[in-house]
Point group: C2
Chain length 180, copies 2
């Protein structure tokens, strides 16, 4: 496998266990609270990651491999997160995310992508031309943006409790960067 | 145990496994790179957390319990991180962090703190009067500020690779909040 792709996969395969270690059986005071109306809970982020596993990364990579730039990606359905989380415990969501990620990485490995494949181009409905390698790097960076978000949402729950130390804690100053 | 303290401990006891799942055996292209001169690597953050386990949280809690406001905390030694990491692999640092955290949580539980203990006051060399409960909440929030930092440092390593998607990734817009 190409070195850059190996590095991407090594991050992608660690995210389910990372979120499991952090969130499974953590009290709901941490996991079911958000930063205010219209913002995410940690559990909601896991539902979002599940939705992306189903509809974003591998389906878009397949679109690139099958259609190149002749058929744009389907737009991302921003309501999908709620459907994913409906009626499910956080433990069930973590299980589902782990299973889907594992299946998707199996698919990625089965494609046995080479350097010339990673340069193939696809069409994003808003961003225009993108490459397969950019899509796969974004898959890993998207995990990190949501780990960054989860750490901020959890930290928000102890804003008051830390008292004057709040001024030393960078995460408390993070303004959300438009939501993620 | 008090509910707030239980919640704090539940987060604190998960951090070593979270960092282990994310970082152990992750390629050095991720873990040994920083965001530019004078900034942290993911491995450096683990060394910092070790140093805090040795010199900050439990020693300061003990100072509160023994001396109240009559004897200020020792100032934090900002050079300590480098001493902790010298000559050690990331795997060794993760092992050491896990062991120290476990010992420190054993000590915390052994104190069997009650509500009135959590209200006890200590003296921070810069912040002035603080309570034991603020110190313990900050211990957990400090884990989260560094998980937030690690996710940003890792994401920095794929800034170029994600191409035009960079504009959708909040973590890429995070300015560092003065270093953490």
């Amino acid at each position: 496998m190409e070195k850059a792709l190996e590095d991407t996969v090594s991050l992608l395969e660690r995210t389910p266990a990372t979120l499991d270690a952090l969130l499974r059986d953590l009290p709901e005071d941490w996991t079911q609270r958000n930063e205010g109306e219209g913002t995410w809970t940690a559990a909601g982020v896991v539902a979002h990651l599940i939705h992306c596993e189903r509809t974003d990364w591998i389906p878009r990579a397949r679109r690139v491999l099958e259609f190149g730039e002749t058929r744009a990606f389907d737009p991302f359905d921003r309501q999908g997160n709620e459907r994913e989380s409906h009626g499910k415990s956080l433990g069930q969501l973590l299980d589902e995310f782990g299973r889907l990620r594992s299946e998707n990485l199996d698919q990625l490995r089965a494609w046995n992508l080479r350097a010339q494949d990673l340069d193939r181009r696809g069409l994003h409905p808003s961003l225009g031309t993108v490459t397969l390698s950019q899509l796969l790097a974004t898959w890993a960076a998207h995990d990190l943006t949501h780990l960054h978000l989860i750490s901020r949402v959890l930290a928000h729950q102890c804003r008051e409790a830390v008292g004057p130390w709040i001024q030393y804690l960078g995460v408390m100053k993070c303004d959300g960067h438009s939501g993620a």
